[in-house]
Symmetry: C2
Subunit: 408 residues, 2 copies
Amino acid sequence: MVNQERLWNRLMALGKIGKQASGGITRLSFTSEERAAKDLVRQWMNDAGLEVREDAVGNLIGRKHGTDLQAPVVMAGSHIDSVLNGGNFDGPLGVLSALEALQCMNEAGVETHRSIEVVAFTDEEGARFRFGMTGSRGMAGKLTAQELEATDEQGVSIADAMREWGFDPARISDAARPQGSVHAYVELHIEQGKILERADLPVGVVTGLAGPLWLKFSVTGQAGHAGTTPMSMRHDALVGAAEIIQVIEQEAARQDATVATVGQMNLFPGGVNIIPGRVEFTLDLRDVNAQTRSAVDGDIRRLAQQICDERGLSLDVETLQDIAPVHCQEDVQDAVYDACATLGIRTIPVVSGAGHDCMQLRDLCPVGMIFVRSKDGVSHHPDEWSSPEDCATGASVLYHTLLKLASL
Amino acid sequence: MVNQERLWNRLMALGKIGKQASGGITRLSFTSEERAAKDLVRQWMNDAGLEVREDAVGNLIGRKHGTDLQAPVVMAGSHIDSVLNGGNFDGPLGVLSALEALQCMNEAGVETHRSIEVVAFTDEEGARFRFGMTGSRGMAGKLTAQELEATDEQGVSIADAMREWGFDPARISDAARPQGSVHAYVELHIEQGKILERADLPVGVVTGLAGPLWLKFSVTGQAGHAGTTPMSMRHDALVGAAEIIQVIEQEAARQDATVATVGQMNLFPGGVNIIPGRVEFTLDLRDVNAQTRSAVDGDIRRLAQQICDERGLSLDVETLQDIAPVHCQEDVQDAVYDACATLGIRTIPVVSGAGHDCMQLRDLCPVGMIFVRSKDGVSHHPDEWSSPEDCATGASVLYHTLLKLASL
Ligand SMILES: NC(=O)NCCC(=O)O
Ligand SMILES: NC(=O)NCCC(=O)O
């Protein structure tokens, strides 16, 4: 249906921007690599006959006009920034598939009732500023001036970086779309998991997204000399933290689909022969079911407090980020199922464990997602891979989904 | 017996060198602070009528000649370097007490059969190069050229630093004392623990030192996306490490006097939303009983391997340092007990959990130690404190111990 070769060639061409010696891609937001990537996609949008603009937070938008210019628009897209040393599919495949779909429509002279926009959102990954989904937050009208104060490792804030690239941080609200102006948003993305691979299917229909709750635990005990402090007289923050980490695993594992990860940890003072007086660690807790996530969160906190009480430690838990789970609207899911039926493709419902820009757009419009099979489920890694055939199949499903959503 | 005021004043004067705004002392080896400290002590050694020299590894030595210049010498001392932001007593009290004892002997015209040397050993703490007891290793003839390649955070090696301060790293063997040339070494040191405080006693007779075994554990699993990897499909290196840390605590706590500490830990890759693929952590394991320590070490390794096997993780354990426990010779202990009896001071046997220079001298000569009560057991901290009275009592015990050891 779509032009598999053109889609693949563009994916490979875009993948040269920010390519590292290691084979991975580093394309952080508000850098010359991201600028070059946006300029290349902008050129392709022009080639596809779209009307192109960049909004106040740097989202790159290409529009195919519908026959009813007043009707709420349909949007499709994803992002073209990457994590450090990431892959070539996470983000770009969604943007280029939407572009491919619109270009095919234009080439075939297909008219739609609603206008359709393809969007490359600014900084989904948050790899540079430890704060992500900046572009989709801006479009949803949820980005704040305070959030733009997040800094990168060099101390450059998002606001500074915006100014450097010609954006005015005081005008971010210009990027916000009015309520009712967007009919639906649909995002094609690689699965980043192994469900489709195990089911031997190229695409899946996303029913919902697990909401990530990010917490920072600080366990405080008493530092001391490793040689002269008997075991019975210790208040070792690390042994307490280790017990909490066990509990976190157990509490998540009891549930069907909850995932809990401790990914960062720091010991203070951090000497080989000093009992840790303080330990800080992060928890990333997710579930598609908000009640389940909240119950697990509560259980973990209660048990962690109990462990600390028993060990004479004190506990502090800070929320770093709290994104609610997202339910993909039935209308959008149905459009994807219909598209698969039209193409004679078997598909299954899947859940997204990863976060995506559609999490931010949820309050603006109905959202949905199409997942494309990922080799070995690998993502955020140079080995990230989806076959040219699967990519084209996904883009074809997106084509028909958009046609359906953009019709009367 | 000794001059309490002089001893205390010297301790306070020395404590000004390397004093930080925080109140702590930072006096790392082969720095201008350490040089200034050695120069000041050298001057006091001269004032005390000692013959002063510095050996090939920078040990500062003051000698009071005995009547028999051929007899093996008696040595006393400690170190005057510090950890980062450390205290004023750990090390200096041993050097200045020995100096005070010899000065009192000279002032009173007391002659001894054997010569007595007071030594300020180079770099006991190892805070700069993560390699310590350099001076005592050198004197024991155990320091190697390879060990001098250890570097500080700026990449400066011990060998570089020695050259910078006028020492020739090729000549370290000149510092080695011949076997049979040292009759005994006795070190006065603050306890760094709470046993004497609880027993309400100013000094203790050290019976032995726990030997520190330092290991580095590397647990390797599989990194993965925190959102898209179900709990059942994980090989999380951190959860495995946390379980090992629990086992380490349990195995140490079962024994009478074993202490085990995990003080450093690093997670890779270390992202909030990335399952740790590898975790490295250190273990500091000590006991005065070599068999007990070895049994606990074996149990920990066996259980850690079992945990890793169950979780599909791989385990590697590397030895960073292995110092055998030290038994303090009965002759030296007896001399300390006799000194206490002479002074009418009640004392008790104690064990050292911390490492000291006498660990290196053990193969050269009989060794022993006198501990002085530490306030709250605090050490390696600006709050480190022993009272002027306790310091003087310790120095008096050392005086009589040296007299006894240096007599025929
Ligand atoms: N899709 C994706 O990898 N999003 C960001 C990572 C996350 O979900 O934490
Ligand atoms: N005495 C002392 O604190 N020595 C070095 C620290 C250790 O024992 O690990």
